[in-house]
Symmetry: C2
Subunit: 459 residues, 2 copies
């Protein structure tokens, strides 16, 4: 097919083609994501309720279920120009290695110093914080991608940045800490002894290696008890999915240039920021009945919120100080096994994606990490890029779909999100290279125990 041969290895949009508006998929959802609730009263959180925690403009975006397109501020557009548009890559070498008739594309978000797509939202959140005249922001980070992205954004806008880093990552990824420090951030292993909630978690769970849920509690406490600070978050929230829609909008624009329509769209899912961003314009068409796509969320078997969680109101954090969100959740005190090195460690899932999954608009699968690292290594060797463990969940799923095509002879077009690079995940790669990586699947009994912490409000 002549059409095929004209597709380059990498499709770059021009700078002018970077989206000037984000797409808000909530506008096209019949069943809107459930509102955040005040954990004390059980009432929906209003704009005023959220002001002590979040920046004003970001709250508006959080609560806006109706506006389909929201302008990207010019300052953010300019920052985007430093590392966007990101390439949409045709995985010719992977296709050849798999000997598959499938056509595989990936949207690569790792070509920036944060190493992932997280910068797409951190720069927005820092921009609004600066515009509001704040002194700084606090946040949590797991693998460190979000913390690095936020540090970069804060350096650019000259904001103070305090990052609570999940202790296990802080120890496994000392270099991430140095990148953040190079960008001027202060980085604290969580749970720390700096906060009331951190001291409580340390007392209740001596020797804990931490979780995103713990770190969120600490960051929120610091933001709400210090003048001129707000809390920012790199995933889960509606606003973050809005910002990340830039991934999907660019990917779709690049495919449209060559008249390519994906049959399957695959993204890894931790809190949902990348998946939600990547699929947004495709999901929009699906919701509006214009086009159909198979959309697959891929999560680790050791932290399976979609595939084994409950769709219920739950705390976003372990300390139970944050609002309640209705989402697929494993319970707010769920902490993945210490042998889990593959990222995507959050106990819950974006309310937007949770609603879409609940309504049958997407599928979800869970994978064990050794098979994920096998796919990562295969991908690295043929496509050149060393992928992040998180991204490698999507790679594994894409390879598996391409191999099914090999069996059936179907020429399906597969798009997946390559969210980032694994340059700071070499401890995990080393474990895999040494044959020392193991898998872990929580037992039903473990999950039942964990579900007990779901709040009463679910009845």
């Amino acid at each position: 097919m002549a059409e095929e041969r004209t597709i380059p290895y990498k499709i770059y949009l021009s700078e002018d083609e970077i989206p000037k508006q984000w797409y808000n998929v909530r506008a096209d959802m019949k069943n809107k994501p459930a509102p955040l609730l005040n954990p004390g009263t059980g009432e929906p959180m209003s704009y005023e309720d959220l002001r002590p925690v979040f920046c004003d403009e970001l709250i508006k975006q959080e609560l806006d279920n109706d506006t389909a397109y929201i302008d990207i501020p010019e300052e953010v557009q300019n920052f985007y120009k430093m590392y966007r548009p990101s390439p949409l890559v045709r995985a010719y070498c992977l296709e050849k290695a798999l000997d598959t008739p499938a056509k595989i594309y990936y949207k690569f978000e790792g070509n920036n110093t944060s190493g992932s797509h997280k910068l797409n939202s951190s720069i927005v959140q820092a921009y609004y914080a600066k515009k509001q005249g704040l002194k700084g922001v606090t946040t949590e980070t797991g693998a460190g991608q979000w913390g690095t992205a936020l540090s970069m954004a804060c350096a650019y806008f000259d904001l103070d940045c305090k990052v609570y880093m999940v202790k296990v990552s802080y120890e496994q990824k000392p270099f991430r800490r140095e990148v953040m420090r190079t960008y001027g951030a202060s980085v604290v292993p969580s749970p720390s002894m700096d906060t009331a909630i951190g001291r409580k978690i340390n007392a209740d769970h001596p020797g804990t290696t931490g979780s995103l849920g713990c770190a969120i509690s600490e960051a929120v406490e610091v933001a709400t008890t210090n003048e001129g600070y707000r809390y920012v978050l790199g995933s889960v929230l509606n606003q973050v999915l809005l910002h990340q829609s830039v991934i999907g909008l660019e990917a779709k624009a690049a495919l449209d240039k060559y008249g390519v329509k994906p049959d399957i769209v695959i993204g890894c899912a931790g809190g949902g920021s990348n998946l939600g961003g990547l699929i947004s314009p495709f999901m929009g068409e699906k919701l509006r009945g214009e086009n159909d796509y198979r959309i697959i969320a891929v999560e680790p078997a050791s932290c399976p919120s979609f595939t084994r969680g409950k769709f219920a109101y739950d705390f976003c954090d372990t300390g139970m100080v944050c609002p309640l969100a209705k989402m697929y959740t494993l319970g707010s005190n769920f902490i993945p096994s210490a042998n889990h090195a593959g990222g995507l460690r959050y106990h819950g899932m974006s309310p937007v994606l949770s609603q879409l999954y609940h309504d049958g608009y997407m599928e979800a699968i869970s994978l064990e990490q050794t098979s994920v690292f096998e796919a990562a290594t295969q991908f690295a060797r043929v496509e050149g890029i060393l992928p992040a463990p998180e991204s490698s969940h999507a790679i594994r799923a894409a390879i598996d779909e391409a191999l099914k095509c090999k069996e059936t002879g179907e020429e399906k077009t597969i798009l997946f999100g390559l969210t980032g690079t694994g340059y700071f995940d070499l401890v995990a790669y080393e474990k895999f290279n040494n044959g020392e990586m193991t898998d872990f699947i929580p037992s039903d009994a473990d999950l039942e125990e964990s579900f007990k912490t779901l709040p009463q409000i679910n009845g």
Copy 2:
């Protein structure tokens, strides 16, 4: 100036515009680089003399001082498409931060997993090794960029890859080792006890942290004593500069698109691979009298081959088993101070660049590493990219030139090579962030001592 505003943040060429031929600057040099000499006989090394060490086709390129343009094999062109063209970036944010009328551009070679420009040559060398039916290749690596690049290339062409890594880097950069292992290479700290020369160096210099010169000796010994193996090198050699001309050709093509002519071209210089590649088409015009450019090589004050070395025949390796090259050199047993963390540790310099410098076609300066890391940090915070220490030498020089323009009001156009990223240099950044980085300048007496090892052939 309206023309100015139309220049995007990043100028990408299309895939079709990736060069299909390398440019060989030697063809335009009146004084050709001096030939490699046999250390035993003092005679120039012939094609046959070099065959036990290098791949046949690469020897032809090494010895070819006349052909101006050499075709890039199609398989290499296809590999280039996976990560090239690399972006030429207009440093708008840096210009703004410096408040300079200068216009700053950088050619960014770090957006691939090797993290540097080294992949441009490793893929070529692996291709010719495979084509010749070899089993594998051996090499040395310092910072690990070259070793990583070669590992990636060997994985792509399914070749065995054995890397001797300078011990100090091996210890400071354990993660580099894991990247290489992920790509299937075996990595040995040098000097090792695996080779005769390694055992001798260890015996003569107990506790040595190694040098590129030592590691080269070991890699050459292994290549020449094992059937089906050859030695490959990531810098210094004429062939490497030829392959790296792709950097300069792309940079010039991108600038030409917008009618921009640089006044100053700046590159960091260790063995000369990046500098030689970046400047090649500009140097060609200068040699042919078509255009003038100020060309500046930047090296570390702790390893100052251009600025304080002798232009003389010297061994390329510490073990004195390699051919002699006429180059600016500090003596083949020169080892930079252990406090030196800024890369660019080689005792000699590309014979091509040495001849051009000797003939007055370029300038050279040396910089101390703390000022280099200051520039790196400033650059990272405004331009987003965390630069490699090596590249940061060029950043420092570019910033200094831009600040001179601020004083004089001149609107000079500065182009520099951003050869790579610093993701694996966080130990050095940590030292800098902690205020523990120190500078080192070898004394004249140290250098006089080191020059004593220069071979007799210099008279």
